[in-house]
């Protein structure tokens, strides 16, 4: 039941081409659609379109049948490889045909071809998936096939001799993996929130050959660029939180100086757009469990300054209530009473300016 929304090729926001394609269809088909405007289509128009599509449909079904027949006959041939490529060009969602294609690689290409030929064939598949992703950036099966190609690239010559004078065997692997960061950056420049591309980016960074590994500093710089381009890109903030987590695990001494810098960066984002959730979420990550009272007090002060400028900013008020609740744990009874009072007042304002979430504010108020 799960995949439709995320899995659909034909989720039209991504390409004009898909959109026109989808706009052709009647409202009675079994597909999942996003962002395709509804138009009134009468029966005559549907019939005319079907007539026009008849030949296309016949060819599609014939080609599908031919391939599935070959698959069921366990035919592992170059001809079948070509048929599947043509077919997947038309419909990259047909996972069974992707599976068949990989089986042909395993049963024919990797066992009967020379390693050089097998490698060249995989390079062609990478090119094929690059162009498919540009048309269908949210199709899981294309991303999956790309990972499979990378993971199945044979060992091959071409790297520098190692310290013992033996020639390296990772030349082919290096050649294919070295392209991937560029590809994913291209995909993210087309859609900065595409979670398939972000997931793939993390996969590439963690699975590439060690000599191609990017440093955490490089990855941090990448997220800085993305955030500076658009503060609202939460995917980049999220990635940034992961990079720091890994950096600080390796070298905890870097945490304190980095935190100062990060609070400054996110402060700029919050002051520029106090209604944007992205910066606030990252701010909460920086504050964490609130065990550092100095940070908690300082940040409450910074946010209160913002509140003076934006007295009815929902996220400013909500964040203050959250941080003050964290601070209560560190206060005596008297200090606590004052914080409770302040939270109550903020919650009252929140109930008024954000009635949609009134019950949340009331529930929190009841716990004070």
């Amino acid at each position: 039941m799960m995949e439709g929304k995320i899995d659909l090729v034909l989720s039209g926001r991504d390409s004009a081409r898909t959109r026109t394609h989808l706009a052709l269809q009647s409202s009675a088909t079994l597909s999942v659609m996003h962002g395709i405007k509804r138009t009134k289509v009468d029966a005559a128009a549907i019939a005319a379109r079907r007539e026009k599509e008849k030949e296309k449909l016949r060819a599609y079904l014939e080609s599908e049948k031919e391939i599935l027949d070959l698959k069921e006959a366990n035919e592992w041939s170059e001809a079948a490889l070509q048929l599947t490529e043509q077919f997947l060009n038309t419909n990259p969602e047909h996972y069974t045909i992707w599976n068949y294609r990989r089986d042909i690689f395993t049963k024919l290409v990797f066992v009967s071809w020379t390693p050089e030929d097998a490698y060249q064939r995989l390079v062609l598949d990478l090119r094929f998936t690059t162009s498919a992703l540009k048309r269908y950036p949210k199709v899981y099966w294309i991303w999956n096939h790309r990972r499979w190609c990378l993971e199945n690239t044979p060992s091959g010559p071409g790297t520098e001799p190692d310290s013992k004078g033996e020639e390296g065997i990772d030349g082919w692997k290096m050649a294919v993996w070295s392209q991937e960061v560029l590809l994913v950056e291209k995909m993210l420049s087309l859609d900065e929130r595409n979670f398939h591309a972000w997931d793939y980016r993390r996969y590439i960074l963690s699975h590439c050959p060690p000599s191609l590994r990017r440093s955490d500093a490089d990855e941090l710089a990448y997220t800085t660029r993305r955030i500076e381009k658009n503060h609202s890109n939460f995917s980049a903030w999220h990635q940034r939180s992961l990079v720091y987590t890994s950096l600080w695990k390796e070298d905890p001494s870097q945490r304190a100086p980095a935190l100062d810098q990060e609070f400054e960066l996110v402060k700029n984002a919050l002051w520029m757009a106090p209604d944007d959730q992205s910066g606030w979420l990252y701010h909460r990550w920086l504050v964490g469990s609130g065990d550092d009272v100095t940070i908690l007090e300082k940040e409450i002060g910074v946010i209160e300054e913002l509140l003076e400028v934006e007295p009815e900013s929902r996220w400013t008020l909500d964040t203050l209530v959250y941080y003050k609740r964290l601070l209560m744990k560190h206060r005596s009874e008297q200090g606590k009473r004052q914080l409770v009072e302040e939270c109550r007042r903020s919650l009252e304002t929140l109930c008024r300016i954000d009635p949609m979430r009134r019950r949340r504010y009331e529930d929190i108020g009841a716990t004070l």
Binding site: I6, S27, A28, V32, M33, R38, D199, M356
Partner: protein, 335 residues
């Protein structure tokens, strides 16, 4: 462009059950359409979406039981021992769950070679606790949900190493309380449902940072009443289910404005051809139709059947199997 519509056709204040039922009935009649065939990789899932939507609208009989069972069984992949999305397609865990769900709803599980499906599902678990979708090994928290839900519906959850799955889901948790598609993945409402749903079935909701997650989920509601799936993204009717079901499992459905969401879902109906779209004025499809009516059911919309938010199946079906968990939806309102 659309012609001016009549008042009756543009009044979306109530759920137009008869047109939606007829819309779902007609879905299988589009076999002259190229698009129908281009989406064959989702067919069994789509049958589940359609049947469940009909059950919620109390029109289960609108599709013929024997025909449905026959279609489900025609998707069986004898080589792998599980369901593909369509006859001759390879087995995958997504259509396998759909097939099982349909058979359970039709009280026809006896048709299934349950032991083979169970072996198929267990063959997909990795040592790290994650599940892959098929023999090629792609992992995703969606597949964890599919495995856990399917094993539970088949009554064999006791054979699962629960701690291993729970350990994996724990590693997918983010600081905002949400869950992503894999370890490190950004929180996304549909992946939140899969993780929270799986933890609910495993009786391990203690893993969830409930207040933080309910806060994040309630922030998915936009001023027009609709819900988005991630911060600073557009609203979409399908999140009516992913977000609401999660909130209902956490017993925090009141943290959003139910009436505003209800109006948003209703406004995305196609009052003439039937079906519900991602948002008002767009083309409807069976996926959004299910998740729209599922959301309405959880919101207590009058005249609908109760839907179990953990399994996304009618509550009575789940109760009969003794699988109901402690979720809380809004009370059903009178007509």
């Amino acid at each position: 462009m659309a012609n001016a519509t009549t008042d009756a056709a543009s009044d979306t204040s109530t759920l137009a059950i008869p047109v939606h039922v007829s819309y779902i009935q007609k879905l299988g009649e589009s076999q002259d359409d190229l698009m129908y065939h281009l989406t064959s990789h989702l067919r069994l899932n789509a049958v589940y979406w359609g049947l469940t939507a009909l059950c919620v609208m109390k029109h289960k009989e609108a599709l013929e039981r024997e025909q449905l069972i026959e279609f489900v069984m025609s998707c069986w992949d004898e080589k792998a021992g599980a369901f593909g999305a369509h006859p001759r397609h390879d087995a995958h865990i997504l259509p396998t769950l759909s097939g099982i769900q349909i058979l359970v709803m039709l009280d026809a599980l006896d048709r299934l070679d349950a032991e083979r499906v169970i072996s198929f599902i267990f063959s997909l678990q990795s040592p790290t606790g994650s599940f892959s979708g098929d023999r090629f090994g792609e992992t995703d928290t969606r597949f964890c949900y599919c495995a856990v839900s399917a094993l539970s519906l088949l009554g064999v959850l006791d054979r699962l190493d629960k701690d291993r799955v729970v350990g994996y889901i724990r590693r997918c948790k983010n600081f905002d309380g949400g869950y992503g598609s894999d370890v490190g993945g950004e929180s996304h409402a549909s992946q939140v449902f899969t993780c929270v749903g799986a933890l609910a079935i495993l009786d391990r909701l203690d893993e969830v940072d409930s207040e933080t997650l309910a806060w994040w989920l309630s922030e998915r509601q936009l001023p027009n009443g609709g819900l988005n799936g991630r911060p600073e993204k557009l609203e979409d009717v399908c999140y009516s289910f992913w977000v609401l079901s999660s909130l209902s499992i956490l017993r925090k459905m009141t943290w959003i404005d139910g009436s505003a969401l209800e109006r948003f879902i209703l406004s995305a109906q196609d009052m003439e051809a039937g079906g519900i779209a991602d948002r008002p004025g767009d083309m409807p499809d069976v996926w959004h139709t299910l998740f729209g009516v599922a959301g309405l059911s959880l919101l207590g919309y009058p005249g609908l059947e109760d839907l179990d938010p953990v399994y996304c199946m009618p509550t009575d079906v789940i109760e009969r199997r003794g699988l109901r968990k402690a979720w809380l939806a809004l009370p059903r309102r009178e007509m």
